[in-house]
């Protein structure tokens, strides 16, 4: 399988007051196209930091990040934004929908910022995703008027609107009841299996990690398994 992301000797260090804090220490890993991977670790282990680096939201202090073989650790902010827009779809624990925008507007938001010529009609695609995820009739609703499970499905629809190669889900079930959690996980697995989208799930929950094909275990900023 073709390599989609390669993390090469990545370090992430912060100054916390006068103390140097090492969030990631010499991380090396590769994620291939079509994989369903879990990054698991206790809180403070560095798993979210790793996800932010994979998702191009943060830059490593040292080391390189390769996206489809291209080093992106030093590219300027606007290029990084474009890459984020086209290449990655995010699903967050807090859903991170914009409450003043309707469901439809939230899903369409990434298409506004794209510099890429889209080969499809974004609104038609958004409406298709709304139907597919059982949100029909909620197009003009606002996020705070629907349930947590529905909000997370809107977030997944938003992450798919740009047809990304990679979906990064940061504790996607963390804010949901168990039934909704199971549904969301099922949905992510379906997307991976049926559409071949590479999915990386960051979680502290072993039950979630057990449902993925591959698990990267991280502790104190280091990959231990």
């Amino acid at each position: 399988m073709q390599e989609i992301i390669r993390i090469d000797r990545v370090w992430k260090e912060y100054m916390m007051g006068d103390v140097l804090f090492q969030a990631l220490k010499n991380i090396n890993t590769t994620i291939s196209e079509g994989e369903l991977t879990a990054i698991i670790g206790p809180s403070g282990s560095g798993k979210s930091t790793l996800m932010h680096i994979i998702g191009l939201l943060d830059k490593p202090t040292r080391g390189n990040v390769y996206i489809q073989g291209k080093d992106v650790s030093k590219i300027p902010d606007d290029k990084l934004s474009m890459l984020r827009n086209e290449f990655v779809g995010f699903v967050f624990q807090q859903f991170n929908l914009i409450n003043k925008l309707t469901i439809l507007e939230n899903i369409l938001l990434p298409t506004i910022y794209t510099r890429k010529e889209l080969k499809y009609n974004p609104e038609e695609k958004a409406r298709y995703l709304i139907q597919r995820f059982g949100l029909g009739g909620k197009e003009q609703s606002y996020p705070n008027k629907i349930s947590g499970g529905q909000q997370q499905r809107v977030a997944i629809a938003r992450s798919l609107i740009m047809e990304p190669k990679l979906i990064l889900a940061d504790e996607p079930t963390g804010n949901l009841d168990s039934k909704s959690g199971v549904e969301i996980l099922k949905l992510l697995k379906e997307l991976n299996k049926e559409e071949g989208i590479t999915i990386v799930i960051v979680t502290h929950d072993k039950n979630v990690a057990d449902q993925t094909k591959r698990t990267i275990e991280i502790q104190d900023g280091e990959i231990i398994k």
């Binding site: 939201l57 943060d58 606007d78 934004s81 827009n85 991170n96 003043k100 506004i112 910022y113 938003r158």
Partner: protein, 400 residues
């Protein structure tokens, strides 16, 4: 294009969502723009009015006035010399045979009594040539003529407002007597209303005209306040004006007499208004700056309120510039909204005021007002917008 529509519509929605805050924030700009535009429109109106007064006297006029009334720096000096003209000057000026007319004017504020009522009016003792020169027309009765001027006939022609105040009906006033400072004159004519007055300019309808020498009864020193000389068309105006001046300089020193034309008055008035306008615009500019600071303040609040939203947008692919433009368009729209409202208020006020004051809003001040408000929106919006754009996506999205 779609992108800019999105940016502007997002900003408009955000402004609409906080209607009260939007209104209060743009109020500063509204007041600033309205004050600048209104002050300019009043200034323009007054200037046009004064210019109109000179224009109504006709062209090719030379004003001969005692003293040096124009200062060296362009304004009116306001200082009158001790020199006062008299009949000798009239005789001297009449040597300029080519002049179409030479009108001596003596003017004074007087108390008038008639029909057992009292009023105040402006007495003008002059010649019959004043009527065509000031475009004065008779409504009832007749004007006085040259023989009456020469013979010191005790006749007067009065403005309609004097009649209105003292006699209920103009017909009742005609051929009646009117006492001016204890002396009696016969009303032979009533002028057609001419308007004017009310804001510093003379109210021609409150004038009382009498033959010059008849006026000596009330002007015991036999002084003449000024001469109005009409130049002929067949001599270059500047040359004629120089001849008038030479004639006056035979008796007076250079700084004791002013020989001027309406262009000089108008240019002096224009320069005074230019100074006045810059002071007024300066005052207005202060309120615009205050309004701009208000916008900056609210935009900083808005950035802080929306840090998480900024983080989400950045995660979804918005560049620093996208965020910058979003906040900048909001501040510009906020400021422009104030600008448009200010302009609206100005038009409304001017429409009301126009009934009794010749104010008007010109295109230039509207364009400047809107241009300035856009500039203020950009200038005061750029700092908060840059703060928003500079937020790190990861810090912003984690912000609670």
């Amino acid at each position: 294009m779609k992108y800019f529509i999105f940016i502007i519509s997002t900003s408009l929605k955000d402004l609409y969502r906080n209607k009260m805050r939007t209104f209060l924030t743009s109020l500063g700009i509204l007041i600033g723009v309205a004050s600048v535009v209104l002050l300019l429109s009043f200034g323009l109106g007054l200037k046009e009015y004064i210019k109109g007064q000179f224009d109504s006297l006709g062209t090719n006029l030379v004003f001969v006035i005692p003293g040096q009334i124009f200062g060296n720096s362009g304004g009116f000096q306001g200082m009158r010399s001790a020199v006062q003209f008299d009949e000798r000057d009239l005789v001297s000026l009449r040597k300029l045979r080519e002049a179409i007319y030479i009108i001596p004017i003596f003017s004074k504020s007087v108390k008038v009594e008639g029909n057992a009522k009292t009023d105040f009016a402006t007495l003008t003792a002059t010649t019959d040539e004043i009527f065509p020169a000031r475009n004065l027309e008779i409504e009832f009765g007749r004007l006085f003529d040259k023989p009456e001027v020469d013979k010191r006939t005790r006749v007067i022609v009065i403005g309609p407002k004097v009649v209105e105040k003292l006699y209920d009906n103009p017909i009742l006033a005609l051929n009646k007597s009117l006492d001016i400072e204890g002396q009696t004159f016969k009303i032979i004519g009533i002028l057609r209303a001419k308007g004017g007055g009310g804001f510093g300019g003379p109210d021609f309808d409150k004038f009382v005209y009498m033959p010059m020498k008849t006026g000596y009864a009330l002007n015991t020193e036999k002084k003449i306040a000024q001469f109005l000389v009409k130049a002929p068309d067949n001599i270059p105006f500047a040359q004629f004006k120089a001849e008038v001046k030479d004639q006056m300089l035979k008796r007076y020193k250079e700084d004791e007499v002013t020989v001027a034309d309406s262009a000089e008055f108008i240019s002096t008035i224009s320069s005074i208004f230019a100074i006045l306008n810059s002071v007024l615009v300066g005052i207005g500019a202060v309120s615009l700056i205050v309004g701009g600071i208000g916008i900056m303040n609210i935009m900083y609040v808005s950035v802080t309120e929306r840090i998480r939203e900024i983080g989400i947008r950045r995660a979804l692919g918005a560049t620093e510039k996208d965020i910058l433009y979003q906040f900048l368009s909001e501040s510009v729209l906020l400021s422009l909204l104030g600008g448009f409202m200010g302009l609206g208020v100005s038009f409304a006020v001017v429409a009301i005021v126009q009934k009794f004051f010749p104010a008007y809003v010109d295109l230039m001040s509207s364009v400047i007002a809107l241009g300035t408000s856009s500039f203020i929106g950009i200038f005061f919006g750029v700092f908060p917008a840059r703060k928003a754009a500079a937020l790190s996506p990861i810090d912003a999205i984690r912000y609670e």
